[in-house]
């Protein structure tokens, strides 16, 4: 009796090798720190999904174990945890890297050890150039720019102003927007920036207002900055069409900015935000609604796009393991690369050896805030 208790304790502590076959999946996510608003829903999502999967019998009857560490957004910690996951916990694949910095640190460890790795961060550098074992689920910021420019072009405007945060997200998107703006025949007539901790952006917005011929305004950034920009925009009585980025695609943004100020703001978002109003027959409707309902029931907090990235990463990975019929990292990698038409909350994924993102512009929906709620723009 005593021995069994001791053995059970040891097993719980992970000190002995369990006799049962199990599939060990690792995650290094920024559940705390500056990127916690991204990482927190991601951890909760993974925990929820693993529980649901095991309750439904796991993958081909084998239980899935999730081992996750909180890297706090620190790339140095992320690298240590990635090493720990591979060397000590012997996982078959890694999900994570909430931020681009953490992702880039994990990436080299995963590539060296030849372990499949699905990142939850935005930057295009993660999958360009393509690395054999690295995949990612969120759109790139370049795609967000393209989606916005498409919409501006369709509305017949040409002169665009930009006000960007100097945080990693804002600065990266600013650079990407500048790189592709020429493709759409648009002109950047004003280019302002603010620090993520600034409490007032009236000065920059006034400058933009006084710029000759501005027809549309874009605000790359995430966190609280865009909410303040939106408030200031309303206070100054600006009326030019206003675009936010996918970085603020959550209800928290509307709450912070205020429904009045955010009225008419457009942004490229995912199906998840508008799951309720997606038409019957929309490919993403079922999965987006199912995830939204389950997440909100399990956590009591509204679903966010960022958790959706983790949802899709888990979906891609478990789908690949099931198809591979093996837990060999190489087999899993090959199966991920062969993923075709897998519908997730962010978009429909089709990976190829040259494309480890697997999404195109159609995955983004142009959303507009009306009376404090998300609507789709057709």
């Amino acid at each position: 009796m005593k021995t069994t208790t001791a053995l059970a304790t040891l097993m719980a502590l992970g000190l002995t090798t369990p006799a049962l076959a199990e599939i060990r999946i690792g995650a290094s996510i920024s559940a705390t720190g500056p990127a916690a608003f991204l990482g927190d829903p991601q951890v909760k999502t993974l925990e929820m999904l693993v529980e649901a999967l095991n309750a439904a019998g796991g993958i081909d009857g084998e239980e899935v174990t999730l081992i996750h560490y909180d890297d706090g957004g620190d790339p140095n910690k992320a690298r240590t945890f990635a090493t720990r996951l591979i060397e000590d916990d012997e996982v078959v694949a890694i999900i994570g890297g909430t931020t681009t910095g953490a992702t880039m640190s994990i990436l080299s460890v995963a590539e060296d050890a030849e372990i499949p790795f699905i990142s939850l961060a935005g930057a295009i550098e993660i999958i360009d150039p393509v690395r054999p074992f690295t995949f990612k689920t969120p759109h790139t910021d370049r795609m967000a720019c393209q989606k916005i420019f498409e919409d501006i072009q369709a509305r017949g405007f040409t002169n665009v102003a930009m006000i960007s945060g100097t945080d990693g997200f804002g600065a990266s998107m600013q650079a990407q927007c500048k790189a592709v703006i020429g493709d759409y025949g648009l002109t950047l007539v004003a280019d302002e920036s603010y620090n993520p901790t600034d409490a007032d952006m009236t000065a920059q917005l006034t400058k933009i207002r006084n710029t000759e011929g501005v027809e549309a305004l874009i605000n790359p950034g995430f966190g609280q900055g865009p909410s303040i920009v939106t408030r200031n925009y309303a206070q100054l009585g600006l009326e030019i069409p206003f675009y936010q980025s996918h970085g603020v695609a959550s209800n928290g943004f509307i709450d912070l900015a205020g429904a009045d100020a955010a009225e008419g703001v457009r942004l490229p978002g995912t199906a998840l935000l508008v799951a309720d109003i997606l038409p019957e027959g929309d490919a993403q409707r079922d999965i987006a609604l199912a995830y939204k309902t389950a997440f909100e029931e399990a956590t009591g907090t509204p679903v966010s796009t960022f958790g959706g990235y983790a949802h899709d990463a888990f979906l891609i990975l478990t789908d690949a393991i099931a198809r591979a019929g093996s837990t060999e990292p190489q087999a899993i990698r090959d199966a991920i690369e062969q993923t075709t038409g897998l519908v997730g909350t962010t978009g429909t994924y089709t990976f190829t050896p040259d494309d480890h993102l697997g999404l195109d512009l159609s995955a983004f929906r142009m959303l507009e805030i009306q009376s404090g709620a998300w609507t789709t723009v057709e």
């Binding site: 790339p75 060397e87 681009t100 060296d112």
Partner: protein, 319 residues
């Protein structure tokens, strides 16, 4: 039998720890933890020279680590120098900057150095974050391979990445500790300790207080820079976090926790504070709280730091 000097004893203990610890490693992951301990220990040894020997406090040493780290990321790409030389370049740059910052300030008494270094560290972080075109901004930048592991492989000594960095950082830490221990017994070291005890008395016996403090500051900046370089080369990726305020505080905390007056104590502090977060992953949410609590307890009950206090207890030299 010849009696061991404290210096040789410290070095022998360190060599034994570095060589024998791998025998107890349950997996290759622990090489990574070991390498991190050694890299941190190098920076903390610099703090021992500055704070333990000379009695000065710096709150911006991570700024120098940032310079060392980004030197390894940028110099090979933009100047075409090999990464090993970039380490030296970063160290020289850090030393020169420390000289320029320290020279006017170390003529003053009090906490001016602490405040100035605090500002310096923040400035470095801001430059690294905002000069996106050069540094890659907050998302960070890739660092080229040192190339030494491949070279060893060609010579028939094939090590895994983790093993290589464990032994290489260990060797660098040994050299750092050896220099610091030599400095302790040198005329400079004695003069530093004298001015730590009493600046007035030191000046009376003819010690150039400002110049010596400056020398200690420059040396410790070079230690921090080398530590940052090794971290960047090992991680193959670096973000402005390496120069961040929290990293500066971490260095000082490691030194104070282990015992800022002794090299071995400081290394012990670095080991504990590097290991704790790995042990505490289960309580990740309470990690900072536990660290804070440990710090408070050490400051109240073991003022000289963990290792010196424990050794004293063991020798039964109660005061």
């Amino acid at each position: 039998m010849m009696k061991l000097t404290p210096k040789s004893a410290t070095l022998i203990v360190l060599v034994a720890l570095i060589a024998l610890s791998p025998l107890l490693f349950p997996s290759n992951f622990y090489y990574r933890v070991g390498a991190l301990i050694f890299v941190n220990a190098i920076a903390v040894t610099g703090i021992v020279i500055l704070t333990g020997y000379a009695g000065q406090v710096s709150l911006g040493h991570a700024g120098f680590a940032g310079i060392g780290a980004y030197a390894c990321a940028l110099a090979p790409v933009h100047l075409g120098v090999p990464p090993a030389l970039a380490v030296v370049l970063g160290a020289v740059l850090s030393g020169v900057l420390a000289y320029l910052v320290g020279r006017p300030i170390l003529r003053l008494h009090g906490y001016y150095l602490g405040v100035a270094t605090l500002g310096f560290g923040i400035l470095v972080t801001m430059v690294l974050t905002n000069e996106r075109a050069l540094t890659g901004g907050p998302d960070g930048i890739e660092v080229p391979d040192l190339g030494l592991r491949g070279l060893l492989g060609d010579l028939g000594l094939s090590l895994s990445n983790g093993q290589f960095w464990y032994f290489f950082s260990g060797l660098c830490m040994l050299i750092g500790a050896w220099i610091a221990l030599n400095l302790y017994d040198s005329p400079t070291g004695r003069a530093l300790r004298a001015l730590h005890g009493s600046e007035v008395a030191a000046r009376t016996v003819g010690i150039d207080v400002a110049r010596l403090k400056l020398r200690a500051f420059v040396i410790s900046a070079v230690y921090a820079s080398v530590s940052g370089s090794l971290l960047a080369l090992q991680n193959r990726f670096v973000t402005p976090d390496v120069a961040g305020f929290m990293h500066s505080i971490e260095m000082v905390t490691m030194a104070v926790l282990g015992g800022v007056g002794s090299v071995l104590g400081a290394i012990f502090g670095a080991a504990i504070l590097t290991l704790l977060p790995q042990v505490l992953t289960v309580f990740a949410e309470y990690e900072q709280m536990v660290l804070g609590l440990v710090m408070i307890l050490v400051m109240i009950f073991l003022r000289e730091g963990l290792l010196p206090s424990i050794l004293k207890k063991l020798r039964g030299k109660d005061e």
